[in-house]
C-alpha cells in the first residue's frame, strides 16, 4: 500500500519582508463589497484612484451590468482606462458592446486601441464595418489593433474585408492584417465554413504575404488536409 504523505508542512525560511502598503492603498474591505457600494465609489468624484481601480475590477468579477455606464465613462482616463476595461470585458450584456463601440468612435491614441482590444476579446460582430474602415487609416497602431479585432470577430464579412486589406496595406499593418487573416480562417473552420477557410488559407500562401504567415497558412492547409481532419 502506498504511504500517504503526512500533512505537516516543511518549515521554510521566509524571504525579507517587502515594503508595507499604506492603509489608503490596501484593498481590505473593498474585496467584499457588493455592486451598489462599488458603484457608489465610481460615482464619487472625490474617491481616490486606488478605490476606483479596485471597484472596476470587482464589478467585472460580479458581472454588474448596472455599472456599465460608469465603467464606460472611465475609458478615457489615463490610469483607470485599463481598469474600466477589466470591469467591462467579462460582463455579458449587449450594453457593454454598445458602450465600447461608442467609445471606439470617440477616443484617440492608446485609449482607443485599448477599447478596440476589448472589442477583439468580446468578438462583437457589429463592430466589423467600423474595424474594417480603421485598417485603412493613417494611425498604424490603430490599424493593427483593428485588423486583429476583425480577425477575432471572424465570419465571411471579416474574411472579405481582410482579404481586401491585404494588398492595400504595408509594413507592420500588413503583418497584422495577415495575422488576423489566419485567426479569421480558424474562426471560419470553427463555424464549419471549411471551403471558405481553405480558400482563405490558399490566398495567404501567395508570395507577397509576410513569410511567417505564408508558412502558417501552409501549415493550416496541411493540418486540415490530414486524413484525420478531412471531411469524409
Amino acid at each position: 500500500m502506498p504511504q500517504t504523505p503526512s500533512t505537516t508542512p516543511v518549515v521554510a525560511a521566509a524571504k525579507p519582508k517587502p515594503p508595507e502598503p499604506p492603509p489608503s492603498l490596501r484593498e481590505g474591505d473593498l474585496a467584499a463589497l457588493a455592486a451598489p457600494a462599488l458603484i457608489a465609489i465610481l460615482k464619487d468624484a472625490a474617491a481616490p484612484e486606488f478605490r476606483k481601480a479596485k471597484a472596476c475590477v470587482r464589478l467585472g468579477e460580479l458581472g454588474a451590468r448596472e455599472a456599465v455606464p460608469l465603467l464606460a465613462a472611465l475609458l478615457d482616463d489615463e490610469h483607470l482606462s485599463v481598469y474600466a476595461r477589466y470591469g467591462l470585458e467579462p460582463i455579458k450584456d449587449p450594453s457593454v458592446d454598445d458602450a465600447l463601440r461608442a467609445a471606439a468612435g470617440k477616443l484617440k491614441g492608446v485609449r482607443q486601441i485599448g477599447v478596440i482590444n476589448s472589442i477583439n476579446k468580446r468578438r462583437d460582430y457589429k463592430a466589423g464595418p467600423m474595424l474594417a474602415k480603421m485598417i485603412h487609416g493613417t494611425d498604424v497602431d490603430l490599424a493593427r489593433a483593428a485588423a486583429a479585432a476583425l480577425g477575432s470577430v471572424g465570419g465571411t464579412s471579416a474574411m472579405r474585408d481582410l482579404q481586401a486589406a491585404l494588398p492595400k496595406t504595408s509594413g507592420m499593418t500588413r503583418m497584422a492584417v495577415a495575422d488576423a487573416s489566419l485567426v479569421c480562417a480558424e474562426r471560419l473552420l470553427e463555424e464549419g465554413k471549411r471551403e471558405e477557410a481553405m480558400a482563405f488559407y490558399t490566398a495567404l500562401t501567395a508570395p507577397d504575404v509576410p513569410k511567417p504567415v505564408r508558412l502558417a497558412a501552409m501549415n493550416g492547409i496541411l493540418r486540415e488536409e490530414s486524413p484525420a481532419r478531412r471531411p469524409r
Binding site: 502506498p2 515594503p19 484593498e27 480558424e186 511567417p212
Partner: protein, 411 residues
Amino acid sequence: MIVPSVVLGQRAGAVPPSDRILFGGIGIGSRGAHVLSKLLKIPQAKFIAICDVRNERRETIKSTADQNYGDRDCQMYGDQYELLARQDIDAVLIATGDRWHTPLSIIAAQHGKDVYCEKPCSMSIEESWALGDAFRRYGKLYQAGCQRRNGANFQLCKDLLKSGALGKLKTLYANVGPSVNWPPLPSRDWLAEEPLPAKQVLDWDRWLGPAPWRPYHSSYVRGGWRNFYDFHGGGILEWGSHTVDLCHWAADLDDTQPVEYEPVGTNTGPYFVNCTYANGVKLVMRDNGWDGALKTGSCSFRIEGDKGWVETGDATKIECSDNIKPLLRPTEDARMALENHVNELVRCIKTRQAPAASAAAAANSHVTCHAAFIAYQRGKTLQWDTNKRAFTNDEIANRMRSRALREPWRI
C-alpha cells in the same frame, strides 16, 4: 579566394556560421542570465541581441555574450519589435516578468521566431489557451522554462509509472510551496508612490507593459513584483507551473486538465488544492511538499499507484515504497536539468521536433494552475468542463478566466 576553415566548419569542433542558430533575448535578469549561461556553451547556437527596458541590464548581457564569443556582435535594443524584426534571428529567450510572457511569446511567433520562455508562461486561463493556439497556428517551436522535464531523476519516476511498476495511477502530488514566500493569494494592494526615475534609466510604462497601471515603486522593479496580483499568480502558479507541469508530463496528462478543484486551507498556509481528473485520478497541489524522511527538495512531485509510490525533487534523490527500491538506479544531479533542457531546445530547433515542454503542454498545465488559483480565490469547490473550457458551477469564476491587458497590448 581564401576561406577560413572555421567558416566551412572544418576546424575540429567548429560549427559553420550558417549552421548556427541565432538567438536574441528579451528581459534577461538573474534567472534569464542563468539560462543564457547554458546557451552560451552550445557551439550550435549564438546569442547576438538583447532587448531590455533597463539600460544596465542591456549592457551587462551584451558584455557577457561578447566576452563569451570574443567579439562585439551582441546588439542592444530598447524595443522588442526592433529585435524581432531582425530576419537573421531564429529564436528568442524571454525571461521578463510574468506579465510579459504570453504577449511577447505570441509577438515573437508572429515574427517567425522560435521561443524559450520562462515560467509561469501565462497570467490567466485565456492567455494559456492563446499561447497554445499561437504556436500551433504558426508552427513555431516553443519551450517553456519547465526544465525538470529534462531531469534524469524526474524522468526515472515517469519511467517507473509507465513501466507499470507503480500499478494503476491513483494520485499525483505537486509541491506548490513554500507559502511563507509566495502565498496562494497575492496582494491586490499598491505600494506608495515614489518619484519616477529618468526614462533612459527605467521606462516605467514599458516595464508595466500589459499589467494594469499603478504608481511607481522601486521595490517592484527590484524583483518585488511577485506577490502582487497584477504581476503574479501566487504560489500555486509560481510553483505549480513546475510541479503540476511535472505531474501532467509524468502521467501523460499533457492534453487535459482536472474537472474538479477543491481548495483547503488559509492564505498563511499550509494549503492544498485537491483536484480530480475525468478518469478519476487525483492531483493534490500541496503547500511545502512533505515532511519526515521524504526530503526530496524544492519543486518535488510524487506519483502514487495502487502498487507503489515514488517521489523526487531538486535534491536529486528518489524516495519510494519498498517494492520499488530494487528498480532504482543512480541518476545525474537534478541541477543538470536546465543544461539538458537548453540542449534540447537547440536540438529541437534544428530537427523541428516538439520539445517536452511544448506550448500545448504548457497551456494545459497552466490552465490547471489558474483554475486552482481561481478556486482558492473563490474559496469553494469548482467544477470544470474541459470541452467548454468553463467552470460549470460559478459564473464569477468564469469571469476571472481572463485579465484585461493595459493598452495598447493584446494577445
